[in-house]
């Protein structure tokens, strides 16, 4: 970075956003030294392709390892609910269900509060509080998941069992989604702990994105007589929309792949129950739990297929997240 000094860096204090179209146009028009540009584009493309290569190799390896299981169970691997290592019967349905449900729960809980917190940190909080609070939230990403897990067992689960779940059962118990005894351990606990774990990711990135929205947006809105909330709602959030989606997707993916904290509180029962109070299991957890001790080739192969399947689930859930966002795009009146 020593070349930085040689460069005439323009002093820019104020700026404004232009529609994405003109950015693309500019990107397409090569100005200056073509050799340097070509090299730069080449190198960056190479990095981009690396991102493609790693999962490709991973998938290739997983496919190879899961051959036995693919051949033996075929499609029934997706639909069967039996997971019996002793009798070599493997079906992934309860795990798929548990992974999808627990990460959806996590998103439902985490997204509103994370965005709220991010807005608070970027626009609403007293400026003295912003930095330390933001710093703290970021730091929480460092807590090892085993710690979240222990906290889950000793603090979260008893709280859920004694106060939250009885209330849910009392008022909503007739709905199948909320029925069953208050065990504490179960899908709800997993959803809550995942939500807590992904809040730092979603909040920190959203806050950065909100900060990066040029102040001129805010100034324009305020100049038009907007209230603080209107400013955020109509001037800041639309410009930040794509970035917030990116943040949510990073959070979602962290939830999909989390093992340790989930397995400590989810109850680890491979049955797909409708109620969020019932125990369940997740794909990432079963892989982490059983990989080290899997003692037959078919068993290992089934776990590899589970990993492969988790990639597919991640793919589908990412697609759905983007689609959902595209659906709400017009409502948000976004420009970014």
């Amino acid at each position: 970075m020593s070349q930085v000094e040689e460069l005439p860096v323009p002093e820019v204090t104020s700026d404004r956003a232009t529609p994405a179209g003109s950015r693309d146009a500019m990107r397409a028009a090569p100005i200056g030294s073509p050799t340097g540009d070509r090299a730069f584009r080449g190198v960056m493309t190479l990095f981009g392709l690396t991102i493609l290569a790693v999962p490709a190799m991973m998938v290739a390896q997983l496919v190879r390892t899961s051959q036995l299981s693919l051949a033996k169970f075929g499609l029934s691997f997706l639909t069967s609910s039996t997971w019996d290592p002793v009798h070599q019967q493997f079906g992934a349905w309860p795990f798929i269900y548990g992974t999808v449900l627990s990460s959806l729960l996590a998103l439902v809980i985490a997204v509103p509060v994370s965005i709220g917190l991010a807005i608070f940190l970027s626009d609403l909080a007293p400026s003295r509080l912003r930095k330390p609070l933001g710093f703290l939230v970021e730091l929480l990403a460092a807590i090892p998941s085993v710690v979240y897990g222990f906290w889950g067992i000793f603090v979260l689960v008893p709280a859920l069992r004694e106060s939250v779940e009885p209330l849910i059962i009392k008022y909503l118990g007739s709905i199948p989604f909320f029925e069953g005894p208050p065990l504490g351990f179960g899908m709800l606990a997993a959803g809550v702990i995942l939500a807590i774990m992904i809040v730092p990711t979603i909040t920190s990135i959203t806050r950065e994105v909100l900060k990066a929205v040029p102040d001129t947006h805010r100034e324009a809105a305020i100049g038009l007589g907007a209230t603080p909330w209107d400013t955020i709602r109509y001037a800041v959030l639309p410009a930040a929309r794509s970035g917030i989606v990116g943040a949510i997707i990073l959070g979602l993916n962290r939830a999909l792949g989390e093992t340790m904290a989930v397995t400590m509180v989810i109850g680890n029962r491979p049955k797909a129950a409708a109620s969020i109070l019932a125990p369940g299991y997740s794909m990432a957890s079963v892989i982490a739990n059983e990989f080290a001790e899997a003692d037959s080739d078919l068993y290992l192969s089934a776990l590899a297929e589970m990993a492969l399947l988790l990639l597919c689930v991640a793919l589908v859930m990412n697609l759905m997240a983007r689609w959902l966002v595209a659906m709400t795009k017009n409502r948000m009146g976004g420009t970014a």
Binding site: T82, N268, A292
Partner: protein
Amino acid sequence: MTRTLFAVSILALAVGCGKSDGGAGDAPLPGSKKADAPPAAGGKITLTGAGATFPYPLYTKWISDFTKTTPDLQINYQSIGSGGGIRQITERTVDFGASDAPMSDEQLGKAPGMLHIPTCLGAVVLTYNLEGVPSGLKITPEAAAGIFLGKIKDWDDPAIAKENPGVKLPKKAIASVHRSDGSGTTKIFVDYLTAVSPEWKAGPGSGTSVNWPSGLGAKGNEGISGQVSSTPGAIGYVELVYAAQNKLSYASMKNAAGKFVLPTLESVTAAGASGLAKMPDDLRVSIVNAEGDAAYPIAGFTYMLLFKEQKDAAKGKALTSFLSWSLHDGQKLTQALNYAPLPDELVKKADAKLKLVTGPDGKAFLP
């Protein structure tokens, strides 16, 4: 795929050996009673081992004591699980493995020449969370199987109550907790249930992970003890060391002789001794539901695994002296850490096994 990996690993090991062979000197290793024999490396030797979690604290204590007098020897043992240990030693990414359960015939087929050296005994205890009921609740094999099959649902069930006349059992649902991660502890426990209950044998069967008919899963001993201690009416199974160190209340089990026995180091060693009678030549044996009045029924040996033919003379020499030391001096350290020592008879058999270990030249390391 594994076969290619295996071939590659052997190749790499051969190359690696070539490099470190030159360093052999003659600093004597301490500890061994036959101290005349083992000349160790002049350069640093590092032995890497991986496997069972259960004996990890004991092994680190042994390593620490043994290497105090051998500054040039480092032994790095890490607990990655029994299955992991078996896989790593089979692929020779480590110098020795460790496992709570003997290797299966299928696994041995992939690793010909593997020796099982028992190092100590482990036991699995039933721990529960019942207010006002301390350690010593009497549990029959039928009751244990019934609880984990989901057939016995309440604490005041006659199957439990009739053996515990003086105990006030609550009318409370039983919440059974089992290990969610594959583990040697589960293997010993379900081995036991398979041995005592035809219904269990026909149903879930035995393995490091099984298809549990009921109950919740928790990760690790700490997961079980956490879940049990935070759930009134819960019952789970943990290693004896874990229960003893963490002051959990545990059950007294009815053994094959019809006696109720508390899990103690003595009753576990007694189970080991009674297992000697049916000990096969390769020392791979299950001692659940062992005979004998004093024997605790849910116990097993834990093993170190090493290849009979060592490719690196210096490492092989160091490894065999360490193991030999463990079988003799090491046993004295077991009880302080709540591990049950090996019966004397078995130490002799294990000694004989160690003497079979040879270097690349075909000569045994131990006389």
